[in-house]
């Protein structure tokens, strides 16, 4: 499914609302941290990374992405600096800080536990 197709049926998208209530709280931050783990990225690159990595299941809108990114900045998990994108445009690149790396590891463990817990509940008879 292409981006264009996806945009024709927005109800299929996740995370296009301001508060991605269809994600567990904090999950979006975790995913962003993860995608920054492989190197600094600008906002659009993060969205694309998440889309591709989720096999086209996650489409994050800007209005959800940017508040999440600001939360990372506020907590000191990422730093932002202006750079030039591949298409020769000015873009802001986000880079993980050491505190961000620690946060990623911790959050990930927490998330795994949570998923397992949910799984147990769903599997219970």
């Amino acid at each position: 499914m292409s981006v264009a197709d996806a945009l024709q049926s927005p109800q299929r998208l996740m995370g296009l609302t301001n508060t991605p209530s269809d994600l567990l709280p904090g999950t979006l931050e975790l995913l962003i941290l993860k995608s920054l783990g492989s190197g600094p990225k600008h906002g659009y690159a993060i969205v694309e990374h998440l889309r591709v990595a989720s096999k086209d299941m996650l489409h994050i809108g800007e209005s959800a992405l940017y508040p999440a990114l600001q939360r990372l900045l506020l907590n000191g998990w990422a730093k932002a600096e202006w750079g030039v994108s591949e298409a020769n445009r000015r873009a802001r690149y986000y880079r993980l800080t050491p505190a961000g790396k620690k946060q990623l590891a911790g959050e990930r463990e927490e998330f795994d536990r949570m998923v397992r817990a949910i799984q147990y509940v769903l599997d219970a008879t």
Binding site: E62, S63, L65, Y66, L74, R90, A91
Partner: protein
């Protein structure tokens, strides 16, 4: 922490931050559009699709702002709203701010002074590392100067050598009065210090070298480091001073250096010299404290090394003390180790000093409480006026917490403004006051003292002012806020008049506050009244001896070897024109020093001995000072000539009336005997045979009568001279005589009246301070009472109008109003009198000539408070009674 810092950084560059965010989102959209075009959409479609995908950007931006600001905007809104409200009510705000400024100001001011005296660090680099070491020892025979807390030379060496938690331990004596010889001999204060003094303090001399260990070996050539002050004055900042000799108590010392300006002198005063420990036998001939294992005279200060905490130091030194105890058993040492302050209060006096400071702060605290009650009352009154606004806010969905927060924010704004204004006023005025008061606190006989006290504000003062500001805002703000935010919505919105439940509640609260205020100010004013009566007594009291037209000649510390003080000088002075009488005494009346001791009756044990003051006088003393001999006789010339200060034996004495009463009751003391134990310990008793009884005279402190024992004395000490002529004439005659017989002796000729004036001045200062507080309390309380009474009256305009319409006269209406508004005043006054009578009992034990149940003071204060309340009520009620009826009836 980092989060807060980033939030703060955001605040300062909020607009730039938001611009960048807009730009970033736009860049994002452009990238997406480009992507979509690559996927085959037309530019038009790509534009639309990307715009759609972006979602609600405006909301996102709001979200971002909320993320960064947290709860801040709400609070900021409160502040802006508060400022607006306060500015709209400029008069209310001004009264509240000035009231608090006075309350907070006097407290911050007095704390600045206490801080300068009690808490300030030793003026030295890294002063937080310095610890003072004091000891209390039980068991063993010891002589001590400066009360307890001091150490012998060998104890000092034990701590210095064994302590590992301290990088260095220094020792210093109390400031010592010394005669500095030269063309014009003068009395100065100096310190005897260990030779690592400058190293441990980390204050290198500004000229020459510091003391080194060789200077402290016994028999080392005598050297001194000069103080910076004396070097710039007496020695005119002579750069060639190093290597020259100076004379201290007629001993030659070589100057090896000049201490840096502001070097600590072991006490809160600047010292003229620092001499090594080994010089002590030269400066105290006769006693050798330096070698004596039993003489405690050194104060110890250590510097903590390697980041050792106070606890580690205490633990280690405690072990050393235990070692010393074992070596010298039986003995038990208790160490006091604290962060060093520049004014070291002996541990024995610490309790009393803390108590005095607490009483002082309590008096000032009362003023602040009155101020708070005032402002709380104002807020309550205004809150009632604002109940409609608050009711509307509550009914529009604001939570009570939100309204309380809003009201507290306003209180905080008021107290911050008051605190700022008050602190600025306080710091400025109290520093000026202290600068004026300090020199006046030094007795005239003591050589000019340069105090080394710092009353500038430091972190502790700022913290105190801040704490006071925040505390007061809660104190005066919380209760009114809770009260006001609990209105009965229905009634308020229907504009129901006073008399409903809520407003009755708040009226009761206001009444209580007025009562409290009246009680507090009664306490302060009654205390003030007592202080003023005490002051009056000080100025009018007869000290029991004649002090007018009496001059006294006192000598520097080195008069011992001088040949001046003898019978010949007495005869020469007596021959001066205008001189009526001359006499020698060991103590100057109301002078700086006194000598007391325990005395007992034969057959009593040493535990039963009672305290008496001692003096040694020549026969003419009593007639010169006009102290009548009530029974028996004065000394004979032969007794005076044979007088000696050795212990043991029998000698004739004259005792004061108070002493006669203390030891013999109503029976005749003439011919009876008193015993004094040896002062050195071990020697035999000295027997005093009573030959006369003299009238009581207040010779040691003005206003107190203590048992006195006069022994016959030979020429020595102070020469008292009564004359007919002017003081200036007689003084110049005496000066010429002394210079002629020995030009190298340091001496002073002063009027005895100056000593009396000094005593009066000191108690005058205390009283003025107290009276100032009392007047401030009265002013604040009057403002408060007036405000509350007039508010209560104005709330009842309509009721009064109705009563008058129904035929009540203006006088009737006035009477009703006053009766109700004065009730809390009366209750408060009664409580105040009860509390004040307790306080005055304490005060009267300090003051003299004032009995605790002083009806004039109590009644006067009560009357004053009532008059103020009455005046306030009448003034507030006047417009009501004069008001035109229809206007009153329409009044809302």
């Amino acid at each position: 922490m980092g989060t807060w810092f980033r939030r703060l950084a955001y605040l300062f560059r909020q607009s730039r931050h938001e611009r960048e965010l807009r730009e970033e989102i736009e860049a994002h959209r452009a990238l997406r559009a480009a992507h979509l075009e690559r996927d085959g959409l037309t530019p038009q479609q790509a534009e639309e699709a990307s715009q759609r995908a972006i979602g609600n950007v405006l909301l996102a931006r709001e979200d971002v702002r909320d993320i960064w600001l947290g709860l801040f905007p709400m609070w900021w809104q409160d502040v802006r709203y508060g400022v607006r409200t306060l500015r709209k009510n400029a008069l209310f705000t001004a009264v509240a701010v000035v009231t608090l400024a006075l309350g907070i100001g006097v407290n911050t001011g007095i704390f600045t002074v206490l801080n300068g005296v009690l808490f300030r660090d030793v003026p030295a680099p890294a002063a937080h590392e310095l610890v003072s070491i004091g000891q209390a020892v039980e068991g063993g025979q010891f002589m001590a100067t400066a009360g307890t807390d001091t150490f012998t030379v060998s104890e000092y060496h034990a701590y210095r050598e064994r302590a590992r938690t301290l990088s260095g331990v220094l020792a210093h004596s109390d400031p010592r009065e010394t005669t500095l010889g030269g063309d014009a001999p003068q009395e100065v204060f100096g310190a005897i210090v260990s030779c690592n003094y400058f190293t441990v303090l980390q204050q290198a001399p500004s000229l020459g070298r510091a003391l080194i260990e060789q200077d402290c070996t016994p028999g080392a050539p005598p050297v001194v480091v000069l103080g910076h002050g004396i070097w710039t004055t007496t020695f005119a900042a002579d750069p060639g001073i190093v290597g020259r000799d100076i004379e201290l108590d007629r001993r030659r010392f070589t100057v090896i250096g000049v201490a840096a300006d502001g070097t600590y002198g072991g006490a809160p005063m600047r010292v003229a010299y620092f001499a090594p420990l080994s010089a002590e036998p030269l400066l105290w001939p006769g006693e050798s404290r330096f070698r004596d294992e039993k003489y405690r005279w050194l104060h110890l200060i250590g510097r903590r090394g390697d980041g050792n905490g106070l606890e580690q130091v205490r633990a280690e030194l405690g072990v050393i003390a235990a070692q010393i105890d074992r070596q010298q058993s039986p003995r038990e040492t208790r160490l006091t180790i604290e962060r060093a302050t520049r004014a070291t209060i002996p541990s024995a006096a610490r309790g009393a000093a803390t108590g005095a400071a607490a009483v002082l702060m309590a008096a000032f605290g009362l003023v602040l409480l009155i101020a708070c009650a005032n402002v709380a009352n104002l807020l309550l009154a205004r809150g009632t006026g604002r109940s409609q606004e608050i009711a509307i806010r509550l009914s529009l969905g604001a939570s009570r917490a939100r309204v309380v927060r809003q009201l507290l924010t306003e209180s905080l704004l008021i107290s911050i403004a008051g605190g700022l204004l008050g602190s600025v006023l306080a710091l400025w005025s109290f520093q000026t006051l202290v600068a004026l008061a300090l020199p006046a606190a030094v007795p005239p006989e003591i050589p000019a003292v340069a105090f080394d006290l710092d009353f500038s504000p430091d972190a502790r003062v700022l913290a105190f002012a801040l704490l006071l500001t925040l505390g007061t805002s809660l104190l005066f703000g919380l209760m009114p806020a809770l009260q006001v935010s609990r209105p009965d919505l229905n009634r308020v919105i229907k504009q129901e008049a006073a008399g409903s439940g809520a407003s009755r509640r708040s009226a009761r609260l206001r009444g209580t506050l007025v009562g409290v205020q009246v009680a507090l100010s009664m306490v302060l004013m009654i205390s003030t009244g007592l202080l003023l009566r005490g002051l009056y007594a000080t100025y009018t009291i007869d000290p029991g001896f004649a002090y007018r037209n009496v001059a006294f000649l006192s000598f520097g510390t080195d008069f011992g070897p001088a040949t001046v003080v003898n019978q010949r000088l007495m005869d020469q002075v007596a021959a001066l024109p205008g001189v009526e009488a001359v006499a020698f005494a060991a103590q100057t009346p109301l002078g700086e020093s006194m000598m007391g001791g325990g005395v007992r009756l034969p057959g009593e044990t040493e535990e039963q001995q009672r305290f008496a003051e001692f003096d040694q006088v020549t026969p003419g003393y009593f007639s010169l000072l006009d102290i009548p001999i009530l029974r028996g006789r004065t000394f004979t010339d032969a007794e005076s000539a044979n007088a000696q200060r050795q212990e043991g034996g029998t000698r004739p004495v004259i005792i004061s009336e108070a002493a006669a009463r203390t030891f013999f009751g109503d029976s005749d003391p003439i011919g009876r005997t008193l015993l004094q134990a040896s002062r050195q310990g071990g020697g035999g008793d000295t027997a005093f045979e009573i030959v006369g009884v003299a009238a009581d005279a207040q010779l040691t402190s003005l206003g107190t009568v203590v048992p006195y024992i006069y022994e016959p004395g030979r020429p020595g000490g102070v020469l008292l001279v009564r004359s007919r002529g002017s003081f200036a004439a007689i003084a110049s005659g005496i000066r010429a005589l002394v210079r002629a017989s020995d030009p190298s002796v340091a001496f002073r000729v002063l009027p005895l009246e100056g000593n009396v004036a000094w005593w009066r001045g000191v108690s005058g200062m205390v009283t003025t301070l107290g009276a100032g507080l009392g007047v401030l309390a009265l002013v604040l309380a009057s403002v408060g009472i007036y405000g509350v009474v007039s508010f209560a009256v104005s709330r009842r305009y309509r009721e009064v109008g109705i009563r008058m319409a129904l035929g009540a006269t203006a006088l009737d209406a006035l009477r009703t109003i006053l009766r109700q508004s004065l009730r809390p005043v009366a209750i408060g006054a009664v409580i105040g009198i009860i509390v004040a009578s307790g306080v005055s009992r304490i005060l009267s034990s300090v003051l003299f000539g004032v009995s605790p149940a002083d009806p004039l003071g109590l009644g006067g204060a009560a009357l004053l408070v009532f008059a103020v309340a009455l005046a306030a009520g009448v003034m507030a009620a006047r417009p009501v009674t004069r008001a035109d009826l229809t206007a009153t009836l329409r009044y809302d």
